[in-house]
Symmetry: C2
Subunit: 360 residues, 2 copies
Amino acid sequence: MATIYDVARIAGVSPKTVSRVLNGDAPVGKATREAVQAAIAQLDYVPSNAARMMRSHRSGLIGLITGAISMSPEPTQPAGLPELFIVQGIQKSLANSGMTLMIADTGGVVEKAVPLIDTFLRHRVEGLIYVAEYHQKVALPVISDGTPMILANCFDDRGTPAILPDDWRGQHDLVARLITAGHRRIGYLTLRPEIAAGRLRLEGYRAALQADGIPYDAALVANCDLEGRDGETQLLWEAIDRMLRLSSPPTVFCCGNDKMALRVYGILRSMGRKVPTEVSVAGYDNYRVIAETLYPPLTTVDLPYTAMGVRAAQRLMAMISGETREEKGPTLVAGPVYWRDSVTELRPANVSLLKSVREE
Amino acid sequence: MATIYDVARIAGVSPKTVSRVLNGDAPVGKATREAVQAAIAQLDYVPSNAARMMRSHRSGLIGLITGAISMSPEPTQPAGLPELFIVQGIQKSLANSGMTLMIADTGGVVEKAVPLIDTFLRHRVEGLIYVAEYHQKVALPVISDGTPMILANCFDDRGTPAILPDDWRGQHDLVARLITAGHRRIGYLTLRPEIAAGRLRLEGYRAALQADGIPYDAALVANCDLEGRDGETQLLWEAIDRMLRLSSPPTVFCCGNDKMALRVYGILRSMGRKVPTEVSVAGYDNYRVIAETLYPPLTTVDLPYTAMGVRAAQRLMAMISGETREEKGPTLVAGPVYWRDSVTELRPANVSLLKSVREE
DNA sequence: TTCTCTTATGACACCGATGACATGACACCG
DNA sequence: CGGTGTCATGTCATCGGTGTCATAAGAGAA
């Protein structure tokens, strides 16, 4: 592989002049420049990043650690896809910064993050991003040198800067919108409370009910999330069956996520209940493969992964450039409600009445 | 950041001795080694890959280019996920080789591969892998220096080593299995013929029919693939409706892929046809989120992405180590049929009869 | 006892860029 | 016409490791 010295010799100039042509950091005569460029082309010269980095101490690398690429060991788990959008957002917002993103994968094993971080540090990355597969708490090793680090879709208790989805607000907005559509009895098939999204979304659901003066009814809430294990469909079936037999049954089922909604579609159809004319369904995640392909298309809440990625990259770049005015605490990013045909607008007359009343 | 000189000074040895401790390439006295290790720990020393590479000329890097991370601009396209499995396979098989995988993303724009390759060459990667989002032909720039390159899920007409799914065999095996199950009238809702998978699978379908002496009936084949544009559901509806009205209607619908099968489920249910009791459905891809979550679970053909990734990594490593006995042409990887409840076994009595007849 | 032969370690140059500084050639100014 | 500034280019040292070779200290052989 040709070096800058070879180029210099062919072009009849000093290596430093070649360097100037490459970097444009000092004026170079037109004829000289052209000679250098010709030599570069002739030799297929590609500068060595390693050598450049030795002197400049700037690697131009950002390290990204994720489990996105390996799926979780449970084959039924759809993991992976969400994180991709985060990574995509990061890419997009890093593309113009001159930084190169190095992505490494934990293979789903969190412990593997340690050697990966080490590898990145050997490459002298200027910043690190850790992307988790779902909203969760993590405990990564402390980076002893000062390399800035950002957590995306996760947080720790050391106060490492984090970018998180605003699950509370998302569920709140969805339920508020359902209420606006005239729904009063809102069933909620929740995610397991052990995960952050499960807790926050349930709180958002309760808050939205309360804001409209609708009492919380525990009979309308069921945790049917078995973490991907078998029996989930049966659990859902039983919960739905039970709720539909209530004297005042729900007019809509909110599902912990879109994948659960996909199951619920199948169950309701097997029960002979038509969606959305007899009962409405809403999801969460805006997992497009499901939400847009289902018939009818699914009303859901967008998990703003791309936006989170963009924010993560921005916040990291701010840290790298040593911006003083730095945000503290996690950055919450809310996603919009996607209103599709899986939810019926109930009693539109009454709704407009309600609305006008509320507006007074 | 500490250097090897700092460590040497603290430990009271020469930098070269520290280097020996780090690399274990020459014997070092026990006491000395321990002193060095203590100094490394004390300083949080992390060696610089750049400096190391300057002399040794071995980067230990493999460059991977993909569009997996950015989804295609069409939001309805499920792209991305499949490639991930390929990348996962590559990771897995590279993990023990001491190589670090650098992943870069084209953002869905194939032209971006050029600057990305350049970036990789600047980092002096020892090998390159290009992963395409679906089985297709590509035209990448020639790598002028001798860096080995592998294509995964795609091929070019320069004979660059490629790893491809065996779409022909997959569809063939599925249809053969359907025939074994007693199906004789097999509808096929194909992918568009412009893509490699569309052509190869259709050929596999025809070959399997022919192998069992079943005549090919064009009325049972329809291309309903609009490349994600609207109207696909309607097109499918019409095709299915037309086929079901035939005097001898299909007993099973093969779908171009699992996502199409998801749509077909919805359509058949809307038509009041029960799956699988009244009509069977099969997909392709083994796109688990769909195939396993659907009710009933979908019979489909696995696209052996992980295996393809493993093969890609292996073949690349062989090229890097300058293995002489090198494979020529593309490596075809076949995936198994996943037999699930969406297909009815027809007339088992007759089937066994047929079988025994055939065995004579 | 002297001569190899390991073993353990150090000295030093070098990989391929770039930063700091120097230099020569003009142009412009008073 | 000398002083000053700008442009274009070169010289040289340096970044942080490692390959090569040298060397000192002991172990075993002659």
